[in-house]
Amino acid sequence: MQDRKKKIILFICNMFLILVMVSAAWVYSAYISKSQTEIKKTDFIRTIESMKSVSQNYLDGEKGYVKDWAAYISENGMTLEEALDFLRSINTNQERLVHIVDMDSYEAYSSYYPKGEEKIDTYVRYKEGEIEADLPFGEIMESMFRDSGEQFRLLGKYRLQETQSMAVGIGTRVTLRTENGNKDYLMLRIIPVEALKKSWVFPTEYSSAEIGIITRTGDYVVQSASMRSQNYIEYIRGYNFQDDYNKGEELRETLKENDSGVLEYKNFKGTDCVWYYSSFGEDSALDILGVLDKEELKASVDAWYIILIVCGTLFVLMVTDGVYLLSMNHRLREAARLSEQASRAKTQFLSAMSHDIRTPLNAVLGMMMIARNKADDPGCVTECMDKGLQSGKHLLTLINDVLDISKIESGTTVLNPEQVSLTEVVQDLVEMQKPALAEKNITLQSDFESLPCRYVYADKMRLNQIYVNLLTNAVKYTETGGRIILRLYEESINDRPDRIRLVFYVEDNGIGMTEEFQKDMYHNFAREINTQVNSTQGSGLGLAIVKQMVDLMKGTITCKSAPGRGTTFTVSIDLPVVEGVQETDSGREELNNIEDMHLLVAEDNELNWEIFHELVAERGIVCDHAENGKECVEMLEKAPPGTYAAILMDVHMPVMNGYEATRAIRALQDEALSQIPIVAMTADAFMEDIQACKDSGMNGHIAKPVDMKILFSYLGKIKSGQL
């Protein structure tokens, strides 16, 4: 319930964060979009203003024409007829007309018509109100007539009598000669609206932009395609606030009171548009009017894209994080479970170790006490010592197994292949088990005949470990008077003549194993709960080590077993064959010639020295004792040449350790001394320890407790010069 509540809170927090992120993205996008829109709007306004300048320049140019002509006509004292003749001849642009207006009567004369037909009533009709005009025609004409400076005044638009097209006029005063002397007239240059429109070319970036000119009361002077109706205010009213007529009046006031401004209204298609108006000048009463679809002002990057990207990213992150968290939780739970399992295993291990170490140790100590109490009974002492020795050996096996399995599990076990004599392996194996077989009266039927290749390349120690463990188990769990069949044979491997498959087969008719146990038999400390098994000494590590070793050698192991019917193990390992090796038996022979050897033993532990000294003394071997590496080196140097046949070197010693001492000896000038065989005799029994000894210059390695057979083997080799 609590967990669910937390999940809901976590979900709400996540959703809140997402909401905050999305909102922030939206606000930011909106801000960017707004900024870009403002920039575009400013650009658009700048464009309209430049269009206004273009129009003013254009109209100023037109005004320049009419001023030049007026000056020429005035200076030359032309009559109306002469002036019209002149204008007809000089005004070659047929689209442009020239009107000369009598400002007293508003009667006018057009250069468009042929001589005698020039009189038009356009301005009279405006004056008399026959034609409605938004702008005060008379006022503008008077202003032009007075020519009061650089004012921008435009007359119109109005329909031309001559062409029926809409036009605007721009003019100045002209003096004509009449019968009653000179008289001033207004001369107007007439520009068709279409011609004015053509002077504007919008930059292509504004596809929807249009431009026009309106009077301050909204009437169009120049009207673009989407500027509908006859009046801009009516147009905007019609498409924006039909239900509120007075808003049109507000717009009218806005246009009147401001020189320029931005408006936002819909056009006749219902599209939202931005309208910009700007006055041509205080007295002009005209505004340029630009329009652009609001869509065109929108930022090119739509805010929704950003929001979608943010949402998408957040969603992906949320899903990824969720999956990752779930996965991590799963792994943590698994790790916790494994840790708990490991803890339980450790407890089980310690419990098992406590039991398995204390049991043989109890036997050793107990037998020692019995022997001491019955020191006057040599038979009893011997028996006690034998039993104690047996328990000690078991204890040693147990410790070796534990160390081995620890090393295997840490993944640091490496194989050290060497040339291995299969004959030796077989002999050692059988030899090793003979006492136990004899003790239990077990019949061993062995077959080692199918071994054409006598030598293989393998890690001898590990290979032995597999075979010994399996055979020891067979002996151990076969009842007195039982039978064991042992075979070691080779099988050829197709297409690989350089390799053989070495098959180890051991079958017993012992107590066998249940199917259930067989599933776990390769696990550490696996021992079947069985009264018979429980009465047998064992660590429960043997098969685990065997399996690991077989796997390490990329071999296979199979088992057939049934309770009460015995067990059969078959181990197959592919190994390279070593060809052309001559068999010798010198090593064994040499064992018999080690008496009288003089050894220098570097050992800091007095007890170990004493044991060693006693054991080798039985074989007639003489030993000198050095308490540390430095003393060892000094004794060697001081001794007469050829005194010592070899040095047995402990590793961990005070003052100077075994490695340093060895390197010091190897560095001696005297070659006879520096080449002396040195064999490590240490409790550091791992492979890397052996390698470290070799690296320091030692010639061999004997693990403590010292197996005298191995020691004597080494001494034999030294004696025979093989080492």
Binding site: R159, Q164, R228, E234
Partner: protein, 423 residues
Amino acid sequence: MKKHFVVKMICLLTVMAFGLMGCGQKKANEFEPVLDTEAKVVLSTAGFFGNFEALDQVIADFNQYYPNVEFTYEQNGMENFDSYIKANTNIDIMMTSEEIFERFGDLVGLACADLSKEDINLSDIDEKMLKRGYHDGALSAIPMGQNTYGLVVNVSLLEKEGLEVPDNYEEFISVLTALKEKGYAPVQGPSSKVYAELVQDMAYDMILNDKNLYNDLMNGRESAAEKLQPVFDVLNEMEENGFIDPAVNAEYPDDNYDQAILKFFEGDVPFWVCNTEKVSGMKKRESKSEAFQNDPFTYTFIYAPLGEKGVYAYKEPWFGFSVNKNAENYDYAIEFMRFLATKKEINTIANMKGVPSVAVENEDNDIYKNISEPGKVEMEGTNEGEITSAMTNAWYSCVNKYIAGDYASDREALEDFAKLCSQ
């Protein structure tokens, strides 16, 4: 052999049955573009209206099919139409009216294309309304709406006074009497129009429904005056009873479209004599009238209930659109007319303009519900060309002169009307 004959007969009958079913179904007038929809074309149009939102709306709809077709619109006056046509020989689409055809007949006739010869489906338009668009056998224009004369009634005012909108002449007189007694000037309108327009539908329906009367009028016979006497009887009753107050109507805004509408919105005009053109501007001016905003009321448009049984329902088409024979973009101008002739668009242009539609299935604004489906009808008629502008002008002239006392009697006024019609 006999079996084969039976099978053949069954097949033949089946085919005939399907054929007859097909004949009974009218083909829907769905617009499908036939020209290049991406082409950039500028169609020049000219019309009599300053603000022409109705046309703008149809253009906007047309642009959905032809987005690159741009329209320019120029306002021109009827009085200079001939000059305009001469100066703009390549204009694409022109707004026309019966008055234009009467004044500049030959010129306009020469300029307008015969739309009946183009591939335009006209089935959505009332056939009678189309007839007036024919000149010399050629369909010169497609009408954009109806021009109807009648009365705008202040329904709220009548209800306030415990009165109902009248359905026939008797009820009308009764309501007018009551209003008069309550101090209202019951029937209002500008003096120059109020009399003539009040009884116009009655007179025209009588002319349209009596061929002898029409012939008598066209020949200036006195018998026509006698037949039209009931119309003047109504006028006389209105005047004698003071239902039409000359002093009030002298002040009623005449040509000022805006002010005439605002005057009605003052709220004290029970019946305003006008036509649908005026009505079309009423809705959007509701917000302009302070009086109406402060005290809004309901109003409706009716035919004048001058008949014993009910109203005289008179219909005639209003302005139309013509295509210039010499149009710069003739094909696209015709394409636009094809589009305009569809039910949706012909209703749109009328509704937007605020006049009754000429569509067979019209979708008129609410204010025209009494026009589209008049309840009690005394007589009805549609002007298919019989009632000309000249006849209308003669009617206005004679009625106004009669009211002004320029004639010795109503008979003299009617005889003069007949005389004018025959000229």
